[in-house]
């Protein structure tokens, strides 16, 4: 082992501050400090090592290429440290140092190890299956609990905010300040020229004394902590190369993050409340816009820092796991559904977590509607699943009718558990069409083989005037078709296959209803939501504000604000 490696090991026992001193002693030490694998170790130790989490590990043998990102851990570590440093910048501005320390600690702890078990969902689980859906879907209901539950000192923050509210509103009245307020409020992506807006707060004395920006800065430092946490989650995900393990890890992390959202909403409610008050004073709006909440802020950060980098892998992963599941069903004669249960649960969770990223306060009201206006991520998933399903159904439609029916039954049982109504409904249509096709080819080939000896005295069978009879008529235009069909139906009945005719007719009926767009549940959902003022379609301008898409840029915002704000 040569001396640079020994020096590296020695340095690995040092904290960042000592390492920087160490690096200034001589060139060899300085060179050691520049090695990125060394910072990787430090980064893992500080940000990932103590990312404790609950949850069972699900693994499989479906391998994929891990996310290929060339990380510079020194930079990552630097970013994290700078963001932490920002807390010291807001110290002493209206709040005692001890309170700032407590708030920072509380946020950090709630992010890393949220208060599990997860809080109860407010509506029945069948409406909103995840915490985020529950939170957004109920945004217009009862307001979230206000105040701090976790520590008494933090009540001071609430009090301080109210005490300085008037003066803050005064200070934000200039255009300069209000544009920053807008950017923070809507998470606007800065124009290139404005890009330099303090990511890392300068420690200028004038700024510290000024009341202005205090709320903005507070939001920015909170955002910094959340971003650092999200990046560490991404770094953790990047190394996984097994698909089920990846999906499982993502689910555990997102579930924990949802719990963090829930607890931070409570802890930081005074901050949101004052932010909304100030904002509303300067931007009285024409139409309904969602409030500034920690939930929205955290979802947007997660989208930007984690989801945008992994959604492709998640979506492809879901499709691959479904394909494997179907292959297993196809290969094995007797299927033990209990064995598949783990996979189905994992898939259903993952899909719900994609849904979390594909809706908002308004659209979630229609989550069970067949026309749920999902945003892009779910649409991509749906498209890929539809394509894979189409392919699979095409393959099994060539199998004997009995096998096809059995496989379709399994497929039906898990598809409806995994996907939203809008997708299940589309897949149901495909399934019914394939089944009809399979019935048709099976019975029509039997029909063709059926002999030419007819019993003329047979009475007319009612089945002749059902879709099954029509199908045979459509395929046989000869003059003797009526007699042949009559005898053929009798033959099926004698063979005890009359049930197949009933099934065929039922499938045909169901398919007709789907084609007409009839779905009882849709009407019920529309009735309930329209009564509360939620529309299935919202205007483009309004949707921009409600969208949880990763960003709205300044230009878009200004365009809409012209019509929406005075």
């Amino acid at each position: 082992m040569n001396s640079p490696i020994i020096i590296q090991i020695i340095a690995s026992f040092l904290d960042a501050k000592t390492i920087i001193t160490f690096s200034q002693v001589c060139k060899l030490f300085h060179k050691t400090m520049q090695i990125d694998s060394f910072w990787e170790k430090l980064y893992y130790m500080k940000y990932i090592g103590n990312l404790e989490i609950f949850g069972e590990l699900v693994t499989g043998d479906l391998h994929m290429k891990p996310l290929n990102s060339s990380r510079k851990f020194l930079k990552l570590y630097q970013k994290g440290a700078l963001r932490e440093n920002n807390w010291s910048v807001i110290k002493g501005r209206f709040l005692p140092d001890s309170d700032i320390g407590l708030i920072s600690m509380e946020i950090r702890e709630n992010l890393k190890n949220p208060l599990l078990p997860l809080p109860m969902l407010r509506r029945e689980a069948k409406n909103f299956t995840t915490l985020v859906q529950d939170s957004l879907g109920n945004a217009f209901g009862e307001p979230p609990m206000s105040g701090f539950n976790s520590f008494s000192e933090a009540e001071t923050l609430m009090q301080v905010f109210y005490d300085i509210q008037e003066s803050l509103i005064q200070e934000y009245s200039t255009n300069y300040h209000s544009s920053f307020l807008c950017k923070t409020r809507w998470q606007l992506k800065s124009k290139k020229s404005n890009k330099k807006y303090i990511k890392f707060l300068p420690k200028s004395k004038t700024l510290i004394k000024s009341k202005s920006f205090f709320v903005n800065d507070m939001v920015l430092v909170v955002k910094g902590l959340i971003k650092t946490h999200c990046t560490s989650v991404l770094v953790n995900l990047e190394k996984i190369s097994e698909i089920k393990n990846f999906l499982n890890e993502y689910c555990i992390r997102w579930e924990a993050y949802s719990a963090s959202i829930s607890s931070l909403e409570t802890i930081l409610s005074p901050l949101c409340s004052i932010f909304n008050t100030i904002y509303d004073c300067y931007f009285p709006h024409k139409f309904r816009t969602p409030a500034f909440t920690i939930c929205r802020l955290m979802i947007i950060i997660w989208k930007r820092e984690v989801f945008n980098y992994v959604y492709d892998i998640i979506i492809n992963g879901i499709v691959i796991v479904i394909q494997k599941l179907r292959e297993n069903l196809e290969k094995n004669n007797s299927v033990n559904m209990d064995l598949l249960e783990n996979d189905i649960l994992l898939l259903s969770k993952t899909v719900q977590f994609i849904v979390d990223m594909s809706g908002n306060e308004l659209t979630f009201q229609y989550i069970d509607h067949t026309k749920f206006p999902a945003e892009i991520f779910y649409l991509i998933l749906e498209q890929k699943v539809e394509r894979a399903t189409q392919q699979y159904y095409l393959e099994i439609s060539t199998l004997p009718l009995l096998v096809c029916k059995k496989l379709m039954k399994y497929d039906e049982s898990f598809v409806s558990r995994i996907f939203l109504q809008r997708t299940s409904y589309k897949i149901k249509k495909m399934r019914l069409e394939t089944l009809l096709q399979s019935y048709q080819s099976h019975y029509f080939s039997l029909y063709k083989e059926y002999g030419s000896f007819f019993n003329d005295e047979l009475p007319t069978d009612p089945f002749m005037y059902t879709p099954f009879g029509k199908m045979l008529f459509n395929n046989d235009t000869s003059l003797t078709s009526t007699k042949k069909i009559k005898n053929f139906i009798e033959y099926i009945k004698v063979k005890n296959h009359a049930n197949d005719i009933v099934e065929y007719n039922n499938i045909d009926g169901e398919l007709e209803e789907i084609k007409k767009g009839l779905c009882d549940k849709d009407e019920e959902i529309e009735y309930v939501n329209e009564g509360q003022g939620f529309s299935l379609e919202i205007s483009k301008e309004e949707s921009m504000f409600f969208s949880l898409a990763d960003d709205m840029d300044v230009e878009d915002f200004e365009k809409v604000a012209k019509y929406g704000f005075k």
Binding site: I6, I10, A11, S12, F13, L14, I20, Q24, C26, S88
Partner: protein, 165 residues
């Protein structure tokens, strides 16, 4: 097989339990094709170091002990190890002896003892300023003012950050 014979650089033989392979990757590999009564030659390990290594191994009952705290939190090694004996053991040695021992543990692929020695060296860096370190290690080379300025501007966070590590 219960005992093995190790031969130091000077040719001195020492008998030790084969469980020593739990601590040393080198011995572990040798034992894969070991013929009974065969001597194991340790060409890079002096008798004194071998004695110290065996003292450490016997104390820990040939089991890998808890590693030192990482990052270390104090310049005193005793605050960074779980077994006070480890701190006493390594505190008995001067810097040259530690370096010798590190070389021996490196030869024997004995990570636990090597970490203990290197953690002890790391303790010597903790809370010391640049000039003291340079003086202690006889480093005369100077960074240019430009590089020094760059270091300061690149890592202000390390100087200002709260000690959250």
């Amino acid at each position: 097989m219960s005992e093995i014979t190790l031969v130091s650089k000077e040719g001195t033989k020492i008998q030790i339990s084969s469980q020593f392979s739990n601590l040393s990757g080198f011995i572990h590999n040798i034992l894969q094709d070991y013929q009974q009564n065969e001597d194991i030659s340790l060409a890079s390990v002096s008798f004194i170091n071998l004695q110290m290594i065996l003292e450490y191994a016997v104390h820990h009952n040939f089991q890998v002990p808890q590693p030192p705290r990482c990052p270390i939190t104090s310049p005193n090694i005793a605050d960074n190890v779980s077994d006070p004996w480890d701190a006493e053991f390594v505190n008995r040695l001067n810097e040259d002896q530690i370096i010798d021992l590190v070389t021996a543990t490196n030869f024997l692929d004995m990570k636990s003892l090597m970490d203990l020695c290197l953690a002890k060296i790391a303790c010597m860096f903790k809370y010391k300023d640049i000039e003291t370190l340079r003086k202690e290690y006889g480093i005369t080379e100077e960074f240019t003012a430009e590089i020094e300025e760059k270091l300061k501007s690149d890592f202000p966070w390390a100087m200002e950050a709260e000690s959250n590590d």
